[in-house]
Structure formats: structure tokens, C-alpha cells
Amino acid sequence: MKRSDDLVIARDRVIGKTRVFFRTLRAALLEIFDESAYTRFLERTSAERTRQSYLDFRREYESSAARRPRCC
């Protein structure tokens, strides 16, 4: 009985860690691909996800992003 409980706990731990891993990976990808920056922009300006708001976001964002070098 105790052994099967241990197995369940171990399995849950693995599932939990896997979930955290994929959540972090997704968050990293969203940050790298500027989706998080757009979400923050929508929150900050209380705007909806529309063509116009994306255009506004790009305008604001590109003033700093365009100066970012890409490494060699």
C-alpha cells in the first residue's frame, strides 16, 4: 500500500515538474517572440487585441526594438 502511495507521489511530482517546465518554456517563447510585450501593452493601455492596437504597439515598441543589435 505504502509503496503504491509513494509511486503516486513520485508520479505527481514528475507531472508537476513537467508542467512547470513547459509553462516556463512557453513563457520564454512568448517573451522572445514579443507576444508578452503586446499583452502587457494591451493591459497598460486597456485596449483590445485589434489591428489598430497592434499597429500602436509596433509603433511604440519599434522605437526601442529597432535599436537592438543582433549579435554576431
Partner: protein, 678 residues
């Protein structure tokens, strides 16, 4: 528990030492690439656990209680507290470029040993340290840039020199990466079609993001990736069809197309071309690096290249120059890259949530970049040395035609036949693989070999080869368009001091003028590389390596000055050691490039040789080009000498007590997230 840990780290040390000893001392028999992987992983583990921890605790005294600018200045735009793994991924995506892929491939002409050792030692003791300390110092100065820190901590001259160094390295970098692309795509209808197709694909992505699904970048990148893969198959069809002639382009034609592209990318709205291409490139880059690592682990290839080759004496056909200092200059980014200091003092410091995380992000991300360099060495060294040399040598270095090249290379003790080269070219869907200098085709060949060994065999080698070429070209074109735009902004900032309207970044005449100036500058060096009978890489890549390492020297001067001003002069060796090494290799390499009497190495000797030879058309221009390259090299050395001397004067006056140490750190504020687990 404690004893268990000690034993575990001892085991890591023993395994790492054994792997390094195997790499260094086993000669006359091929070794498995897994020895390089093992040595690398153990070196990084030990470096991170012990050396970076020592620097964090003793030298920098990282303080978990100190609020970072991301906390104090949080604005939801630039300053954002971000999960450390997310910042790590973001930082790695920004620092990973074509440099660690190309440099180690070129340096493989010395054998796998020198490159591997320098990538590991250089990364652990220099490159990772530079990225880490610059990131931390920028965090403590509200995310200031390297130039601003140089101006405030060393002096005004240092700030100006840093600016000139950055713009020079940008110009040389853009020329050399453009040359790599041209050499990879010339006379290759398959490659030219695939890379050409990425431009309309990026435009489509831009329109998709703007009009169809605003802001869904990952979705658009996946779609873009699928289209690019389709374009690879389309390229195969084109290369076998009657349209092949339209895409079989000479080097000069490709150079003109790339120059026009660079100008358009700099002047067009960013959302339309540059941003979607950047997303697509990042998507492919991260995916390909991951599958390359997986491929190496699955295939565990054997290295065909010897540990050391005869070319350590400086007679190499890929680039001329002795092991010291040219191996170090050539590898550049895989071990230490000055360019990283711009990223470490750019976006990343504004995202760090807690000070101790700078260790993982700064030191850790550079370790990952260094591992990319190790993978590049493995890819190059899995090729037969004869094949590697036939692909990477300029026509002027090995006899001028394939038959002479085969004879020359075989006489060096690296047997290769024209039939083998023809078969290899046929397998990857190319007409010829001779004289494809620049490193990219050799890397693509090695990568295709590893991939096809793990999936699909020889039948799909051509697809893998062109996938690798597409990956590198996409990578490089992103560096090219982003670099041109950054250079344009820098020029606008500088010219704005002369005439104000030129400084207005949205004023179209200013955009056109500065874009043309920037493209004209790197385009000029690209053109001279294309017309160079020795392949161009022979003179331009060392120049790029020198620029890059000189920028790293500037960053280390800033770091050393701050360490001294923090009252921690007893730990000055942490940054002063790598600085002295960089000064030694860059200054001696520069001396060789300018004054060496061997015309294959020394630019002035080469100019004299041309002047003494027959007066053929274009000779005056080639002489001028050599003199110009020599002047650029000498100018950079003089400028960096000024920074080194100015910094040393600061150190001496602080250490001798003549000057009170004071840094420009932002005032200490206690974090509100002290209870938060990091």
C-alpha cells in the same frame, strides 16, 4: 550529504579531465565527438559551480536584497521583472548569431584541438565572465549601455572610442557575413531560390501579423517555417528544372542583390520585413540548434580531422596566419565576443528581477553559446580533411581549378579525388563544392552528414544540406538587416550633432542618406571580398575577429575599472587576466595583418607585391583595398590603446590612493520581493 556532493563534483572533475586528456593526447587515431561533448559539459559545470560562484560572492558581492531597475523603474515597456529562465532564453536568443558557427569551422584548419581548448578555456575564464560582469554593472546602473558606462567610469574619450569601435565592428561584421552568404549561394540555384523565397515569406508574415491575426507571432512563425521548408523542396525542383539558369547567380550579382536588400530593410517599415524575418530566424535558430545537439548525441560522430594539422605554422589555405594569434582571433564569438557586451548592457539588464540572477543569465547563456561553437567544430571535423580543405580554400590558395586543388590538397597529406568531390556535390544537390569559402557550406555539409546519419541517410542529404544553408543564411540576413538599421540609428545620432534634422530618426531624407552611408560602407568591403582571388575571407574574417575582440577589450576595461572603483582591486585579475590576453592576441594579430612580410598575411606586403607585379586592370583598386584594411586595423588598435591607457591611469590613481574610488551606481534600494524564491 555534503560528502556526497564533494564526491559528485570530484567525479565531474575527473571525468572532465579524462575527456580533455583524451582530446589532447590521443593522436594518430580518430576519436569520438562525445569526448568533446563530455569535456565541454564538465568544464561548464565546474566553471559555473565554482568560478562564477566565486565571482558572484567575492568580486561582485551580488545582493539579493538590492532592488533591480526592473523593480524600481517597472513601466511595462522596457523595465519588466521577468522570470529568470525567460530572461535566460531571451538573452540567449539575442546573443546567438552566426559567429560561433563560422569561426570554429574556419579554425578547424588547425585541427580540432586548438579550437576546442580555446572555446572551453576562453568561455569559462573570459567570455562568460565578460557577459556576467557587464550585465551586473549595467543592472546596477539602471540598464546603462556599454558606451555610457565607458564615458562615466573611464572618461569622455573612452565613450567616443567605444562608439567608433562599435560602428567599425558593425561595418566589418556586416561585410563579412554578407560575403559568407554570397559564397554559400553563388552558382547554387537551389540555395538562391530558397533564400530568395524567405523575403516574400517574411513579407507575408508581416501582413499576417498586422492584418489577419494581430500579435500572434508564434503562430505566424510556425506558418513561416512551414513555408520555408516548402521553399527548400521548391528549390530542389527549381534546380532540376529549366528555370535553374534564372537562379544560378554569380558572386557579383548576389552581392548587388544583398546590398539592395540591406538598403530596403533599413528604410522600409520595420513591421513589414525586418520584424517578421527576425521572428522567423529566431524560430529556426532555436529549433536547429536543439536538433543539432540531439543529432550529435544520437549519431556520436567520429572526428576525421586530426588533433593538429601542419597548418599551425601559418601556411593554411583557409586563412593564412600562425596558430598564435590567429586561432583566437578566428574563433572569436565561441569563446568571447565583444558584441555580447552590447546585449548585456541593452535589453537584458532591464528584465532582471533579482541581482543574483545575473549569474545564470550572463554566465550561463554564454556557456550555451560556447557549446554551439563546440557543435560547429564537431560538424566541421566530421568531414574528411581533404573535403574540408577543398570546400573552404580560396581558388587562389590551392591552384585555381578543381584538378589543381585536388592535387595540392592531396600532396599536403589529405587525400581527396575529383570524383569524391563530385559525388559529394551530387549528394547535396550542388554542381560543385570547390572554393566555397566562408565556413557556412562546410558547416552545412557537416551538419547534413550528422542529420542524414541519424535520419534518412544519403537519400535526404541534399535536403539537410539546404536546410542548413537556409538556416545560416536566414540567421545572417537577420544580422545584416538589423545591423544596418542599428548602424543607421547610430549615424543619425552622430550626424544630428552636426545638423539637427539629420538626427530625426523618422525624417525620410535622413533615413535614406544614413541608410545609404551604412550600406555603402559595408557594401564596399563586401565588394572587395567578392573580387579578392584569395576568397575574401582570408583578409576580412581576421579583420572582423580583431574588431570583435577589441570591443571585448573595451568591455573588460570598463569592467576592470568598476571593480577597482568598488574597492575590490585584489580581485582585479578576474577581468584584467582576460583583458591582457585579449590585448596580446589582438595587438599581435593586428601587427601581423598590417606589417607581416608574408603577402598572404600582411596587408601592406600584399599591396607591395601587387605593385611590383604586372599592371593588370583593377590592380590599383586592390592595392588601395589592402591599404584601407591596414588603416582600419591600425586605427582600431590606436583607439583601443587609448582606452586601455586611460583605464590603467584610473586604476593606478585609485590603487595608489591619489583618487577616492567612486562609481556611478544607482543608490541602494531594498527589494520588496525579499521573500520571493528565486
Amino acid at each position: 550529504m555534503r560528502i556526497g556532493r564533494i564526491l559528485a563534483w570530484l567525479a565531474v572533475g575527473v571525468v572532465g579531465a579524462f575527456a580533455l586528456a583524451t582530446i589532447a593526447f590521443r593522436r594518430h587515431e580518430a576519436i569520438s565527438a562525445m569526448w568533446l561533448v563530455t569535456a565541454a559539459i564538465c568544464s561548464y559545470a565546474l566553471g559555473y559551480r565554482f568560478y562564477s560562484k566565486f565571482i558572484a560572492a567575492k568580486v561582485l558581492a551580488l545582493d539579493a536584497m538590492r532592488a533591480t531597475p526592473a523593480e524600481r523603474l517597472e513601466n511595462g515597456r522596457d523595465f519588466i521583472r521577468t522570470n529568470k529562465w525567460v530572461v535566460f532564453g531571451h538573452h540567449f536568443a539575442a546573443i546567438a548569431g552566426p559567429g560561433p558557427l563560422v569561426g570554429p569551422v574556419l579554425a578547424a584548419q588547425f585541427g580540432y584541438l586548438p579550437g576546442t581548448l580555446w572555446i572551453l578555456v576562453g568561455a569559462v575564464f573570459a567570455g562568460c565572465v565578460q557577459d556576467f560582469v557587464i550585465l551586473l554593472f549595467s543592472v546596477r546602473r539602471d540598464g546603462k549601455s556599454l558606451g555610457q558606462m565607458a564615458r562615466e567610469e573611464i572618461g569622455k574619450t573612452a565613450g567616443t572610442v567605444a562608439f567608433i569601435s562599435v560602428i567599425s565592428i558593425l561595418i566589418i561584421l556586416l561585410a563579412v557575413v554578407a560575403l559568407i552568404i554570397v559564397n554559400a549561394l553563388k552558382d547554387s540555384p537551389w540555395g538562391a531560390f530558397t533564400i530568395g523565397a524567405t523575403i516574400p515569406i517574411a513579407l507575408l508574415m508581416g501582413l499576417y501579423l498586422r492584418y489577419l491575426r494581430p500579435g500572434r507571432v508564434l503562430e505566424a512563425s510556425v506558418l513561416g517555417f512551414l513555408l520555408v521548408v516548402t521553399a527548400i523542396f521548391g528549390g530542389q525542383w527549381i534546380s532540376q528544372s529549366t528555370h535553374a539558369g534564372a537562379f544560378t547567380l554569380a558572386g557579383t550579382t548576389l552581392a548587388i542583390l544583398i546590398i539592395v536588400y540591406g538598403f530596403a530593410a533599413s528604410a522600409l517599415p520595420m513591421w513589414l520585413l525586418l520584424a517578421p524575418r527576425d521572428y522567423l530566424s529566431t524560430f529556426v535558430k532555436l529549433g536547429t540548434i536543439a536538433i543539432l545537439a540531439l543529432g550529435i548525441l544520437l549519431v556520436r560522430p567520429t572526428l576525421q580531422m586530426p588533433a593538429l594539422t601542419r597548418f599551425i605554422d601559418g601556411s593554411g589555405p583557409v586563412f593564412a596566419g600562425n596558430l598564435f594569434p590567429f586561432a583566437f582571433i578566428t574563433i572569436a564569438c565561441g569563446a568571447i565576443s565583444g558584441f555580447h557586451s552590447l546585449i548585456s548592457s541593452g535589453t537584458t539588464p532591464k528584465m532582471i528581477a533579482r541581482e543574483p540572477q545575473t549569474r545564470m543569465v550572463g554566465y550561463g547563456a554564454m556557456m550555451a553559446e560556447s557549446f554551439v561553437g563546440i557543435m560547429a567544430i564537431i560538424a566541421a571535423c566530421t568531414l574528411q580533411p581533404g573535403t574540408y580543405l577543398a570546400v573552404n580554400s580560396g581558388a587562389g590558395m590551392v591552384g585555381g581549378n578543381p584538378a589543381a586543388a585536388v592535387a595540392t590538397i592531396s600532396n599536403w597529406g589529405f587525400p581527396i579525388t575529383a570524383d569524391q568531390m563530385a559525388m559529394m556535390a551530387h549528394n547535396v544537390g550542388e554542381k560543385t563544392l570547390f572554393f566555397r569559402t566562408g565556413g557556412a557550406p562546410a558547416f552545412a555539409l557537416g551538419m547534413a552528414k550528422i542529420f542524414s546519419d541519424s535520419l534518412g541517410g544519403t537519400a535526404v542529404m541534399a535536403i539537410w544540406y539546404h536546410f542548413a544553408i537556409m538556416f545560416e543564411a536566414l540567421f545572417i540576413l537577420t544580422v545584416l538587416d538589423a545591423g544596418t538599421r542599428v548602424g543607421r540609428f547610430m549615424l543619425q545620432d552622430a550626424l544630428g550633432h552636426i545638423w539637427k534634422p539629420l538626427g530625426r530618426t523618422s525624417w525620410y531624407p535622413s533615413i535614406l542618406v544614413t541608410s545609404a552611408l551604412m550600406v555603402g560602407a559595408w557594401g564596399y568591403f563586401l565588394w572587395q571580398g567578392i573580387r579578392d582571388p584569395l576568397g575574401g575571407i582570408n583578409s576580412l574574417w581576421p579583420l572582423f575577429g580583431i574588431c570583435n575582440q577589441l570591443l571585448a577589450a573595451v568591455a573588460l576595461c570598463v569592467a576592470t575599472t568598476i571593480i577597482v572603483k568598488m574597492g575590490r582591486a585584489r580581485y582585479i585579475w578576474v577581468t584584467l587576466g582576460p583583458l591582457c590576453w585579449l590585448v596580446a592576441i589582438t595587438f599581435s594579430a593586428s601587427w601581423h595583418k598590417v606589417f607581416d612580410p608574408n603577402p598572404l598575411i600582411g596587408l601592406l606586403a600584399h599591396a607591395r607585391q601587387l605593385a611590383a607585379g604586372p599592371a593588370v586592370a583593377g590592380i590599383q583598386r586592390r592595392i588601395f583595398n589592402d591599404q584601407l584594411d591596414a588603416a582600419v586595423c591600425a586605427l582600431l588598435v590606436v583607439l583601443v590603446s587609448v582606452i586601455v591607457i586611460e583605464s590603467a591611469m584610473q586604476w593606478i590613481s585609485v590603487v595608489s590612493g591619489r583618487k577616492q574610488p567612486s562609481t556611478q551606481e544607482a543608490p541602494f534600494v531594498t527589494t520588496q520581493y525579499a521573500q520571493e524564491t528565486m
